[in-house]
Each structure stands twice: as structure tokens, then as C-alpha cells.
Symmetry: D3
Subunit: 244 residues, 6 copies
């Protein structure tokens, strides 16, 4: 099985670490292709970054379909371009936010999200509502660590996330923590050990859900809302992206 | 990995067919134990049947824990005893209704449920609400086929379910069908082929979700709501079920 | 009128005090039968206890029906077995949680629940949602007093509940307090006097609602969702509970 | 116990029949005072009628308080002036719409409302939402019988309501019928007999709820939202209504 | 264009200042008529005041219709009598609470309301729910400044509102402030300057919405729910208000 | 005042007709700039088209800000790129879907949407939920007229929309119609005349809301969720779009 894991931003180091997290979660016979768009923001920290990231995801799903990917994962916690990707793809497409929300709901009656910038909490809130987790998700907490500093040991990211998670568990009366950024995948095991509750990384969660769907023969429904894009010729530099 | 699949009713033929469906979905290195309670209803077709089935599930999870099961699946569409089972189990516990709802949400913007008796639709409605799928689930349709006639070719079950599903897709503007009874697992592939949309059987869905969680090291949260039952001595014939 | 008040746990002292609370609330011509199951947990402090209590409630409603009860009350704040009991009963069946929520909604724009163990708050939350009180119920507060210590003067139960209620009124901007355990019935009048707001005990509330329904000729609807259980033979020790 | 039942319109014949329905429901030791405002609309068939009816209800609750009423019932299905009445009253105040919704929820998993003019359905919808019954109330159906023709045998009111209720039960998959007008109280018993499901008349329901609350010592909370109106002098002809 | 701005209370000084706020917001060719009822409360600080204010609004809309008003504004934050006014009016009728909620939703993902008496917060909560802003409105905060002291420099109203708004922005994670009383219109510009976020005064907002609707040829729908009141003769002093 | 009206697709004829509709709605002293992106889909009929349209909107808002626009309107019914545009803009940004929903809510208790392709109904549903109109919007109806045929007299578009609207009003019990495509602006007046209820075109609605906000000094909140995009360098051809 080939799963194309798309890092919607253009930072190669992050693509590499997302790929590693995906491979660590994947079954032995799953091939993970970790890719990134040819254009767009180096990190996704707001709605404007997300608009361009969504276009980049569409670019990469189109290539994935051409290359025979069995499934796609969108590895940014805002799930940018998810619906468009599902129109393009024959197989399943999984966003890491939805993946994490779904799995967290299976191990706890309520969960809290710990994310990077407070200004992006509203993006998670909108997803929580659209996906139907507004009663399961008991809190969304910004740590105000910039995405590209998550890997920097000097940023103190681990301790700040740990601290935010501990407060979230107590204050929200939650039973699990969802990590609100693909860049936090590395920290997942250590956080789970320290917190003593399930900690869900969306990258790993999405890989398992994609594998599950493919192995069950379940693909994106092409009836109605996710039917293939209607063929038309796009203008300007987007012409190469025209649906056919 | 050992997954204990509990048929909450006491009909051995149904336990066997559920076991077969689970094994068909499971990965090569997963061992499926298909079991049923030592007591209770032969089929679950209402709230009263469900109360006893929930107790039977608790009996079987307790045995599963003693026997070292890595995860449990509750193979009745009402997910009887789910919360109690999560208190008892260290690993994940998945109900087939929730499993089907979660996977259906990943392949379609909306789904419809086709189930057996109309009188049990309210059970599914209550689960849909509790789990947060009230906007994703666009309809729940009873066919009024008794559970134990699903296997009987003379019941015309397949055609009636197919017909109900086709009407549901059109009327609810849905993109996927969820089968509302563990006894429908056999029909899943044929229905999917005929309908041309994803058809989700909860038994298979739950097995894959259980495997996913176990392989990610995600177990039921023991903080708070699903902590182990408090030790106390139960009275009467339930004494053997006393939490210790 | 004969109302069968079922204490779903097996602690006789608690059955007696629930019976006393029910009699204090009942009209002169109402006969209260306070009973408990022949099996199950001595107190209900989690989902596992509740599963067995629900079965015990079914046992007792069956006996109540045979004995000609006009109505049933389920005297545990999780309303265990409520839907099953309604299938079994011809007359009304009232849970004390729902009874308290309904009456509280008639005397205040919002109420707070003060209960025993924090781990059981999620049970109340699920009921609040299922019954439609999620906007009326402004908070659910655990005091972490074990159920069987409520009567013990050394537990300081009264002061702890009073303190929790006072904080709830202020913090939740509530106008009334709902007592979240049948074992708190004794404390109701004193709490109301001290707090200066309506304090609702579900046992008394349920008795009055049962009397009201019976006197109006309103019984559980037998059309559809609460129709009598389908006749079938249960296996094992549950055989005696088989619906006929 | 003295319960003041206020017909919010000014049609004396309707006040008399509401009084009769209330007395039929009341306990032996309850005194029913059926009254109507000194001003306002002869029937309430829209929001404009309702504004004046609400003022009339306030007039009558003020008189009831002066006269020592233990509780008030507002006998129009829009519950006009309910919140204001609760500010004025020391004892409980019950609207017939809320009363009917509460009792219907105790005997069925879902109910349908059958009312008079279709244009008033939106009033009931707003109440259903405010009170939290939006999942329990499965449909609101106008019959377009004018309120003051309900009593007229030539209007065919009974048959039209029966027909509408039968269709509602089937279409909404409901288990009970709520009568959406105080003027339908007479028809309640016959409808229940014909339909074979619980039929709830709000006048009777409200009387029993008022009796229940009074006998339990539960009065309108005076903390916060329903505190007595602040003393001030009203201008013009409303001066006599100034809170003191 | 003639817009009739109704101050629902009977304090002439407040009518004058509301008129001034409305004129400051209005376009050059809009004529603002600021009026008040001939009867009723001098300030609206609870449900009882509101009942009489709603009747006063009906009186004034009736006169406005007779006088050829193109639109009406109801200048009290509880939007008293809004639905009745829409039945009476041919043109649009806008309440200042709804106006402020609508405009706030266009400039921020979430807003907080700062109002006068805490006891009136529940009125705003009911409107927020009825209008559908329950996810946009992140908090409603009482300052407990009496309405008629808003203008009194000795009341310290400005500082108290400023302080409450600052805390609301931080605590609710809001991006805008809605002023919860027509009497706060004067303070709007200064508050916006001090707070650095949009501050919405409902009077100005309602005037612009009324102008917008009139200029687009959009009037209150007369199909169904807001059809003109049915002609009937009201009793007593309300007779002059009888719909014809 | 200068309002930049962005047609998110790249069909110049549609930009022109949207510009005409905007100018017809605008006040005398408002300058309408009707523009379209330099790239992207010629019509927006699904999620994939929308992703590229959102990027095009961002391009045009960036140019509008550089050019001193006082406000922006996004003239496609899916409101593509709305949140990103609000990050970029200092003044207000209004989507035509939200504009239409807001104004429709002021003239009717419920409205129905009539749109082009059925497959895009889900886009409107997601907006309805995100904006909070799920109770006000009583139905969304596809006519399956392709966007670019709306202007073609041979498509019979007017009659099909009229027919769909008439059925929607009856079936949904709605009081107003919202046109679900910017390309329907031309038809608005005729439809309103034929239907006898308010018909809301989002382009006109958005222009009036933008004018209202600008004239009140209300701009997009820059506190928190809509703060300016963080400066960073985008990769590839998106480099020119990098926030600074």
C-alpha cells in the first residue's frame, strides 16, 4: 500500500520529520511517500498561510493520483484543502486534525488540544464544529511557540507543551491530549509517558486510518459531494491544475 | 495482537459469523477471539434486550482482561455496555456503531444508516447524538427484518436492505451507507458493489480501529471518567462480577 | 395509587431512606413500595456499577408489573435502565435525574448539579444531553464524597455539599441546585434553607411526576420506541428475565 | 392550595372551559381560580396578540399575588409573559406549552405538536428551542382551525385534529401528541382513546406540575434572573402596574 | 427615507440621546424620528419591564405605519416586541441587539457583550440563542450599572464598562465588544479608541441595517410567520390597539 | 468610499455583471471596483475550484489593500478565502453568502437557499453551520443549472429557479429566498416580484453591509484571530504573495 503524506508547508526538514513519524506508525507493507508543495508558506500559522497551503495540497494530491497513491494524508492540523483533495482522489484522504479527533474520542470521554499559536485556535475550533466534536473537545490551548521552533531545543517547547497539557487535563476535566501541530509528532511518546494519559499525534493517527480504510476497500464516496472536479480550463499560472 | 470480539447476544451462529467477518478484516498477525456472554438475549431488538446484553459484555470483557486481550470489540450496533467495558479494560474497547460512524465520516460528507427493526432506530439516534454525529448522520432507516432472519435466504433480506439503502441515498443526499446490525456483515461487499458507494460494516471497522489504537500504543484513558471500577462486593448472583 | 420506588443498588439502609423520602413527598392516597434488586452493586459509582444496576432495575420493574404497580421510580441519579423499564412497564417510569432536571427548569432559568464522585459527572452530562437540558444545566460539580458516606456525620457531607452548592450558584450564575444522588434526599430541606434557592431532590420530584402522570391517565407510549420487549428466551441465569 | 389559572385572552367562554379542564385535573384540595385579563385580544393567533396577552398575564399575576395565590398557570400555548410572571410571583408559574413538553418527554422518546394556525407554529418552535426540547419535539403541525372555532361542532375540529395527529405520528415517528392550544383541552380524552397514544393537554399538565412544586416547597428562584421587578413608576395608563 | 427609532422606555432624555445616536449614524437623506411609548417603564431592567415595553413598541409601530415610516428600529437591547412589530410593519423592523450581533459577526470571529444589570444577561442569552449567535457570542457580562445612571458622570460608568470590556476580551478570547444597552451609545467611540477593537453600538448598527434593507427593496416577509395580525377587537383599554 | 468587489472566478463577463449588480446597490458616493483574480477557475462548482478561487481572492485583496480599498466583497456564494482576506485587510471584508444570510434573517423567521449545482449544497451547509444560521436556513436546494449558463436565455434558468423557489417556500415553510450564486443577481428583482416574498442577492447585500460598516468606523478586528498574517517568505510562484 502506498500512502502519500503531504506536508502542506514548504519546509523540507519538517517534511522529513513528518515522513519519519508516518513511517514509524505505518505497517510493514505500507510505503510512505512524504512530499511537500512546490510553492507556498514555510509554516502555516493563520488563515492566509492556509489558503496557499490548500492549493499546495491540491497540487500534491493531483500528482499522487497520477502516481498511483492508494491514500493521502494531509499533515497540517488545519486539514487545509481536505474537501478539494477528496474530490481529486479516488482513495481515502485523511487530515491529521480529524484523525486525531476521531482516535481521541475512542479512548476518552473528552480531550483537550494543545497547539502552537493562540491565533490558530479558531481554525481548530471551526474544524471541531464542522466534524462534530464540539462536545468531545473540551478545550483548545495555544502555547504561542512558533511552528518552526518546535524542533529547537532552546525554545523549551517540550516543557511548555507539557505544562500546557497538564493544566488542560485538570481544567478541562479531559482524559486525553491531542497534539495540535504536525511538528509535535516527535514529542508524542515522551508526553504520553510524562502525562500518563493517551497523547494523540495526528500524523500517526491519519496513517493508521488511511491504512484501515484501504484495507477495508473503503474509498472516498464519488456520489455527490466529493465527485471528481468538473473538467474546465483554469486561467493563468493555475492552468496546469485544471481538472480534466 | 489479540482482539476479543464480543457478540453481545447468545446466538452461537451469529458469534461465528461475526468472528468470520472480524477475521476477514484483521491483519495477518491479529488473533480474533469471537465470544458471547454466558447469559442473555438471543438477539438484541430493544432496550430491554440491551440491558442484559450490556451485562453480558461486562462479563466477557472481564474474562478478556484476565486472558490478556489487547483490545475488545462490542459487536452489536447499540454498543451495549461500552462505557463499562472501558472502565474494565486496559486496552481500547470499540463499539461497532461508533466504529462505523467514524469511518463513514472519513469517506463522505454525510451517511445514512440502514438497520433492522424500526423500533431500534431510537437507540442509534441516541448514540449518534452522544458521539457527535448528528450532522453527519442524515437518516436512520428501519427495514423491519428481525435480526435472526438476516441470514435466512427466504427473508429477502438482501433485496430489502438494498432497496432501503438506495432510497436513503437519494432521500438523505448521503454519500455512504452504514449497516446497522452486526448480522449484516456478510452483505457488505455485495451491497457496496451494487450501490456504488462506500458501505461500512461496523465489525470490520471496529477491528481496524482496535488494531490501529493498539499499534499506536493508545489505550483507554484511566484518568477520570474511565478509571477502573471501584472495588466493592456485588450482591446475589452478580457477586462473581464484583470489581476488585 | 401504588408507586414502586426502586433503589437500583443493594444497600438496604439506602432503600429505606429513599423510601422515607418518597413517602414524605407522596400524596396521602399514594402507596410507596421501596424495593431493591436481588443482585448487584451496593452503591453506583461508575459505568460498570451502572450496568448491573440497570439489570437490577429491569428485574424489579418486571416484579412491579406483575404486582400491579401504577408507576415506577428509578432512584439513582444515573437513571439506570430507564428505557428498558419503560418497555416493560404499562404505566409511567420516572428517573430521578430527569425528574430533578424537569422541575428545576420550572423554577429557574438555569441550575447546577452537585453530586458525589467527580468520575460520575460524565454520566450526568450524558443524561443532560440526551434529555435536552444542556443549556439549562450550567454546571455539574463533584464533591468526591463516596455514596455510602453521605449518611455518616463524620464525613462532613452536609458542609461539603453546602460549600460546593454555594460556589456553583456564584460561578455558574444558577438559580437552583439539583442534588445528584438519591442518598442526598435527607439534606434537601436544610440545604434549601441555608442556600435560599430551590434545592431539588430527584426522589421527591420523581414521585410527584409519577403521581401527576397517573392521575392524568398518561402512561408510557406503547407505540414504537417503548413497545413491550419482543418475546424471546434468554440464556443462562437471565432466563427468568425472558420477555414473554 | 390555590392555583390561579390565567386565560391570557379575553373570551369568557374560553376562560370557563379552561377552568373546567383545570378543575378536572386538580387534586381534591386544590382550589382553581380561572381568570382573564381586563384587556387584550379575544384569541391569540400571532405575535401581536401575544404581546398584549403577556401584559394581561402580568396584570393577573399581580392580582393573584395580592390575593395569595400559591401558584399560577398561563393557559395559552405560547406561554405569553412567562418570565415576567415569574419575576412577579413568589410561588411557581407554569406555562401550558412547557408543561406539555415536559410531561410528553416522560412518556415517549419523541412527540409531535398539533396546533391551530400554521402561522403560530413559529411561536412554538421558539419555545421548543428556548426550553431545550428541539430533539424531543419531532414536528409541529398547524391545522388552520381558528381558535374560537375549536368549540364549534360545525368546524369539524375534532376530525381535523385527529387526522393531523395520525399523520404526525406516522411521519414524525412520534410516540405522543401534544395539543397546541388551551382550547383543545376538551378533546384530549377522546383523541387519546382514538389514537392509542398519550395525548397531552397543557392545562391539565400545568395544574399537576404546579401542585407538585407547591407540595414540594419549590417556588420560583428569587436569586438572579427571576428576582422581583425593580421598583419604579411606570408612565401613562400602565402606572397602576408599576412594581413597588 | 424615514426611519422611526423607538425607545421602548418612557424616559424622554434617553429618547433624545438615542435619537442623536441614530442621526449620527444615518445617511444624509434619512430622516430619523425618535419616539417613545405613551405608557410603560422609565427603564427596562428585567422581564416585567420588558412586557410593558413590548406593548409600547407595538403602539409606536402602529403609529409609525399610519405615518408612513419606511422602517422601524427598536432601541432597547432586549429587542422587546420585535416579532409583533414585524407583523404590524410593512417595511423592515430591526432590534438593536440583533443588529449589533449581526455586525459584530462580520468583523470578528467572536464577540463579548457588556451590559448593565447582571439580572438582564439572561434576556441577552435567550436572544443569542434565538438568533443563532450562541457560538459567536463568547460571553455576556453585567456591570450592574443601573440604566438611568449611564449618563451620570458620578456613576463612573465609562471606567466600569471599559474595565469589564478589557477583561471580557482577554477571558473570552474575543475580537469585538457589543454594547448591551441603548444608553451606552455615547460611549461607543471612546471605548473603541481605548480598547483598540471594534465596539458595536446597536442603535447605529440598526439604523444602517434598516437603511440597507430599505434601499434594497427588502421588507418584512408577509408570507406566513410575519403576516399582518388577524383583524379582531381587543377588550378594555387595549381596544384602540385592535388589528384591523 | 471605495469597495473592491472580487469575483473569485476568472470569467470577465461575470465580473462585469457582478460589478453592475454592486453598482446598482451602492450609494451614490460609493465607488465599486469589480475585479477578478489573474488565475484560477472560470466558474466555481466544487471544493477544488474553490481552493484556487480562495488563493485568487487573497491575490486581489492584497492588491486592494495596496490600492487603498475601504472594504472588500467576495462575490461567490461559498465565500472562498474569507478568513484569509480578513487577515489581509484593514477594512471590512464581506462574503456574499454571509451577507445574504444576515439580511434574510432580518426579514423572515426562516429562509431557503436556491443555488446552482446540487453538489455545491454541502459548501453552503458548512457555511450555514459555521456562521450560525442552521436554524434560520430551512433548506438548500440545487437546480443543477451550471453557473455559466445562468445568463443563457436558452437554459430556462429563470423558470427553473422560480419553480425551485416556489417549492422551497411551501416545503420549508420559509418566508424569504436567498439566491445561492453571484450569477443570479440579475434575476433578483423579477423573482421577488413573482414570488411575493423578499429575495436576497448576496452581492447587493454585501455591498450594503460593507458600506454600513465603513460608515460606522467598524473595521476587521486585528486583535487575535484576524491579525495580519505573520511575515514570512513563501516558496515558488507564491513568493510574490508572501506576507510582509
Amino acid at each position: 500500500m502506498r500512502i502519500r503524506v503531504i506536508n502542506p508547508n514548504t519546509t523540507a526538514a519538517m517534511t522529513a520529520s513528518i515522513g519519519a513519524a508516518a513511517r514509524a506508525a505505518a505497517s510493514g507493507d505500507t510505503l510512505i511517500e512524504a512530499v511537500q508543495p512546490s510553492f507556498g508558506p514555510p509554516s502555516i500559522e493563520g488563515h492566509h498561510d492556509e489558503v496557499w497551503a490548500a492549493a499546495g495540497v491540491a497540487e500534491q494530491v493531483r500528482l499522487g493520483e497520477a502516481g498511483g497513491a492508494d491514500a493521502h494524508v494531509i499533515a497540517c492540523f488545519g486539514d487545509p484543502g481536505l474537501h478539494a483533495a477528496r474530490e481529486l482522489a479516488r482513495g481515502p484522504v485523511i487530515g491529521i486534525a480529524e484523525a486525531a479527533f476521531h482516535l481521541a474520542s475512542l479512548v476518552a470521554t473528552g480531550f483537550s488540544v494543545v497547539t502552537t499559536l493562540t491565533r490558530t485556535c479558531v481554525i481548530a475550533e471551526h474544524l471541531v464544529l464542522q466534524y462534530g466534536f464540539e462536545r468531545r473537545c473540551r478545550g483548545i490551548h495555544g502555547t504561542d511557540i512558533p511552528v518552526l521552533e518546535l524542533d529547537d531545543p532552546r525554545s523549551g517547547a517540550f516543557e511548555r507543551i507539557l505544562d500546557s497539557a497538564e493544566r488542560a487535563l485538570a481544567q478541562d476535566r479531559s482524559g486525553a491530549i491531542v497534539l495540535g501541530c504536525a511538528g509535535m509528532a516527535d514529542l508524542c511518546a515522551s508526553l504520553q509517558q510524562r502525562l500518563g494519559v493517551p497523547v494523540i499525534d495526528g500524523v500517526a493517527a491519519a496513517v493508521k486510518l488511511a491504512e484501515s480504510l484501504v484495507s477495508l476497500g473503503l474509498a472516498t464516496s464519488k456520489r455527490g459531494d466529493y465527485a471528481a472536479p468538473l473538467p474546465k480550463t483554469y486561467a493563468g499560472w493555475a492552468q496546469a491544475m485544471s481538472p480534466r
